[in-house]
Symmetry: C2
Subunit: 412 residues, 2 copies
């Protein structure tokens, strides 16, 4: 079954907003066995939209759209579907009443133009939207399906999970695609390639390798008549990867370094403190992106100069002897964080973020140190000299290394 996605809105063509709905829906389709042929971004222009629908109906089984369901004159998705199918919209009384209740519940009367959101054509049914005034449309015509959803991700994603995906699952029973994402850090792409080379180059299960900010990801994709069979095709490949790369694997599927590290700390009831120089708060901000982080994160310090390092407990002798940027200073920071904030683990980052070199060390040179319950860890490497790349790489490395040490020191 083939699909395409239309992301609708002139603001997407002005560069005001980057479309993220397209790539989000793209991630949802492989497990349903639906093959995505393309994503198109189209402005709020009726002829262009109607043409996009007509062309899509010729070459795809499904068209998924986001945007253009609001109440204003610029919102033309409904009109374009009607035009492409040659149908005429009518007003649905019960939806008008729902809308009136929605506004009344907020102490307002419904603006007249919201009546557009109660329009329907004969081939369409409404799709419930719990988080906004714009209901979606589910349209079936000549064996093709068009699903229109609102643009805000906070409305679209719940609609997808609750209303759209279950109906799609019923429709596309012939093939299931299962993916398994295995995330590694510390081994090069070439070395991984060599280690598991016999699994590459097959159609099904397919093995892909991707270089990301948090390491090298391996993605196994299996297609089969049912989920069970697809999972059984993945098992031996995953087992071989685990056996050969085990020490470098830090997470699976949608895991992030901060989530994997946090989960390890939570599991053993342990706590964390951080001290960073060059990463400037990126590490702390990643740690606190996890909702449960208050349970294990005791706090952090951003120390970008020697006064702040001294005030945070780094011994003056260390700074004098090893300078601002060195593995020794990073380790002293890790101990100072651990002791000063009474945490089980202290993680420290220092390095050269730029624009200028520090103490003759180039931009991108970074040091990670971890003071653990029994052991310590030290890492140093050089990243490409772009500010955001340095921050992201060094923080991700610190978090994956932390997870490894927590599991090593506390696991069985």
């Amino acid at each position: 079954m083939k699909a395409e996605i239309l992301s609708i809105g002139t603001e997407l063509l002005m560069g005001e907003l980057t479309d993220t709905n397209g790539s989000w829906i793209a991630t949802q389709l492989p497990p349903l066995g639906i093959q995505l042929q393309g994503i198109s971004i189209v402005g709020d222009d009726l002829p262009a939209l109607a043409e996009a629908f007509s062309r899509g109906l010729q070459r795809s089984d499904f068209i998924f759209t986001t945007g253009g369901l609001g109440p204003t004159q610029d919102d033309l998705t409904r009109e374009a579907v009607a035009a492409a199918l040659g149908e005429t919209p009518t007003v649905q009384r019960e939806v008008v009443e729902n809308l009136e209740r929605y506004f009344a519940g907020r102490g307002m009367t419904m603006p007249a133009h919201n009546i557009k959101q109660a329009h329907l054509i004969p081939s369409a049914q409404f799709v419930r939207n719990r988080n906004g005034t714009a209901p979606g449309w589910w349209v079936e015509s000549d064996g093709k399906v068009i699903v229109c959803m609102p643009g805000p991700p906070g409305e679209m994603q719940p609609i997808w999970h609750e209303e759209v995906a279950p109906r799609l699952r019923e429709l596309v029973e012939d093939e299931v695609t299962i993916t398994r994402n295995i995330k590694t850090l510390g081994m090069s792409e070439a070395a991984i390639d060599e280690e598991i080379s016999e699994f590459f180059g097959h159609e099904n299960p397919y093995l892909g390798i991707y270089s990301k900010a948090d390491g090298i990801h391996l993605r196994i994709i299996a297609r089969a008549g049912d989920e069970q069979v697809a999972r059984e095709m993945i098992t031996p490949v995953e087992a071989a990867i685990t056996e050969r790369l085990g020490a470098y694997i830090w997470g699976y599927d949608s895991d992030t370094p901060e989530q994997a590290a946090g989960q390890a700390l939570s599991e053993f009831g342990l706590t964390l403190a951080t001290m960073e120089s060059c990463s400037g708060g990126f590490l702390a901000n990643s740690v606190t992106d996890i909702p449960d982080s208050a349970r294990y994160y005791k706090g952090g310090v951003i120390a970008v100069n020697s006064e702040m390092l001294l005030a945070s407990g780094v011994p003056p002798l260390v700074l004098e002897k090893y300078g601002l940027v060195s593995p020794e200073t990073a380790m002293a920071m890790a101990h100072a964080a651990r002791n000063g904030m009474a945490a089980d683990y202290g993680v420290a980052i220092n390095g050269v973020i730029g624009p200028a070199p520090i103490e003759d060390q180039p931009v991108g040179q970074v040091y990670v140190a971890i003071a653990g319950r029994k052991e310590t860890r030290e890492l140093q490497f050089r990243t490409p000299p772009r500010r955001i790349v340095i921050k992201r790489r060094v923080a991700n490395t610190a978090l994956t290394e932390l997870r490894k040490l927590v599991v090593l020191e506390n696991g069985d």
Copy 2:
């Protein structure tokens, strides 16, 4: 003149990667007077790509592509252009020699498959790429122009600025579009609308209003025969907006809150220290995203519990009397940051990030406090209860408020 963009790569259809090149190029076109009709994301599939080019040539004057210029079998942009135009690629000897030199300079011999990157068709010229092995293509045929650029933004954007934009400027002399973005915070969209209502609803200059994470943006777009005239059309609208909303304007065009605050501090040679609870490092991380921040940022503390607040200089009596989350505690944090790190300005954030309420205050309730050289500032508000929204809104508000106070206390 009409254009469309093709973003090429199967990884964009698997949701592995979100296309940002399309929206970036979209922002570059209005000042050139080129009207963008659509952005399409197409996989690495020769028939689909060739069809996309053929269709594009029918309806657009320009096609801009990114991706698919690498050396592998999956890189099919060149082949698709050749197919759409019915031309046959030949190998360009001097480009092969350039490639060989590029690899030799890295101590490697050129892999055989890189020879693809030296292919050219009669209608195409190479476009120089200083940052990678893949040269771009500039293709002219039947009055239409196709520009093919590599996918990595670090290669594509320099190519655009250095090679593509100057040639486009020569081609499209008939109309220029100038935009001016004015960024406000603290006034609602409805209130702004009322204040400057007479400027909305015109075609040229057009005024748009957009709600963003860092406030309400106003965008003036003027089209004219030359830049001078277009700028003169913007001037009176901008002057009226400045007069009526002046106190709420914190930046222009591509300004960010952290950049605007940093610029104000730099201008007066002043320094900053931060202390945050609920924003968990988002504020520090934003501040340090600015390359020059080391000149004015003295450091920061992430204090998520009372021990850390006490250790960072918040008086025990304040915590006892006002609790973890309150305007008084936020102000004590701001003073502790300013005094403890010997900075001119101390900025503090506290609030409830979730998942649970704290001290009976709901998730999303936040407090910002600033201790300045002479004055202090206090703000409190409630954001939607999503973790990343809370962090971003409260940090942006703190930074725009900081900028305002710095300018007020030190400007003339």
